[in-house]
């Protein structure tokens, strides 16, 4: 979802419906399995009454509203961000001895990617590459130089109303993060491609130690979302929400890994509750919030 232009990501089940669920078509990103997916239609309808005694002549929609709730099985940067009701940030690796701060102390200086970098390889000077290790996480984005509005590319991670002073602010909020799988003197090989592709001009790199979000704040996450249910015969049901905003604060649910031992190891799930916002369908100008598509199994009666 491009927040600045209010442009959702499109999904066309007729063209893209057969995609590999582990490798969705760009720019969609797989967030893995979810559970307890629940849709709640909240639109209100009202009857148009006529006659004596009054009887319903027509129905009209008074309000459009729909909610979706689910639980993410895995904690990642993206699932955590989607499930939180507010801004989600990267904990940048700090300089030694920096004063503590709840959302990350003063960050160690960023390094500059060299030419030849791609979405999965960041070319670095050998002295810079030596600062990273395999298994570390990196954030790659431009310096903050007083910009306001939605920040972060290609996904907006924050909305800034007044200019700030932290030069690393965009790298704190960026979704352009990845795991380093290999380090060699010429640069870093990434285990997953950067969302933003090859580093943009002016982009810099910093190590990330983890992630943090806050209860409160004024920022609302908004994403285009696609949920897929696949049947045993290959049939698929798609729920495409062009605009989905988080509507509650961060919440978790713990479930035991073993039903035999409820007091044993547990899995902590990220609970998400979302409000679907409407878009205008260019086909006929109708305002809608969700497209449900069904692709039947081969040879199934329709």
């Amino acid at each position: 979802m491009n927040r600045a232009t209010q442009t959702p990501v499109l999904f066309d089940a007729s063209e893209q419906g057969a995609f590999d669920l582990d490798a969705p078509p760009a720019p969609w990103i797989s967030l893995g399995w979810i559970q307890d997916f629940t849709r709640k239609p909240m639109s209100k309808t009202a009857p148009v009454l006529t006659g004596i005694p009054a009887a319903t002549l027509e129905q009209v929609r008074e309000t459009l509203e729909a909610q979706v709730s689910l639980q993410f099985l895995s904690w990642t940067k993206l699932t955590m961000a989607l499930a939180t009701g507010s801004q989600h940030m990267n904990l940048l690796a700090s300089v030694s001895g920096a004063a503590a701060a709840a959302d990350g102390a003063q960050a160690a200086a960023a390094v500059v990617p060299q030419t030849g970098s791609t979405a999965t390889f960041v070319a670095l000077a050998s002295a810079d590459a030596a600062k990273f290790t395999a298994g570390s996480i990196i954030a790659l984005d431009v310096d903050y130089t007083g910009q306001t509005g939605f920040l972060g590319a290609p996904v907006a991670g924050a909305y800034v109303r007044q200019a700030l002073t932290d030069v690393n602010y965009i790298r704190r909020v960026t979704f352009n993060v990845a795991l380093v799988s290999q380090v060699n003197p010429t640069g870093l090989t990434l285990a997953e491609p950067l969302l933003g592709g090859a580093p943009a001009a002016g982009a810099k790199l910093q190590a990330v130690t983890g992630f943090v979000d806050r209860e409160g704040g004024s920022f609302y996450q908004e994403w285009s979302a696609l949920f897929v249910m696949q049947g045993s015969q290959g049939e698929r049901i798609f729920y495409y929400y062009p605009r989905l905003q988080t509507m509650v604060g961060a919440e978790e649910a713990a479930i035991p890994l073993s039903g035999k031992n409820p007091g044993g190891q547990s899995r902590v799930l990220l609970k998400g509750q979302f409000l679907a916002l409407p878009v205008t369908d260019p086909l006929d100008g109708e305002r809608v919030m969700c497209y449900r598509s069904f692709l039947p199994a081969a040879n199934a009666m329709v």
């Binding site: 893995g32 399995w33 099985l73 895995s74 298994g135 890994l257 073993s258 031992n261 190891q265």
Partner: protein, 121 residues
């Protein structure tokens, strides 16, 4: 591998029971239940009268052995064993009541052991 008509005394014997796989994650997670059996007659020097203390020591030893509740996952097909990327982890043990059979005291504990499947496994 030797087989025993009767379990040996004063050692821990492990048996691996049911296996479960959770494939709804980025990496499949497997769970296998480990049954740990142990028994003792105590020592000859005390005529077996210390068998209660001996079993209690084995209980404590087991509790110490399972802590912390994780260990690095190693690939023992390599020499020396190669460290893998994840950890093996487990629940707290669930102990059964003591069973008395003549001069023998025995007990078992069950521990659910979990592991993530890594690439190449």
């Amino acid at each position: 591998m030797p087989t025993f008509s009767q379990l040996p005394n004063d050692v821990f014997v492990l048996r691996w029971l049911g296996l479960g796989v959770d494939m709804d994650l980025g990496s499949a997670m497997t769970a296998e239940e480990c049954e740990i059996l142990y028994q003792t007659c105590g020592t000859q020097s005390f005529g077996g009268l210390d068998r209660g203390r001996a079993l209690s020591e084995m209980d404590e030893e087991l509790v110490v052995m399972v802590q912390p509740f994780f260990t690095p996952k190693l690939n023992y097909t390599a020499t020396p064993p190669a460290a893998m990327l994840t950890k093996v982890f487990w629940d707290e043990p669930g102990f059964t009541p003591i069973v008395t059979q003549r001069d023998l005291l025995s007990r078992s504990a069950k521990v659910m052991v979990y592991s993530y499947q890594e690439q190449g496994e």
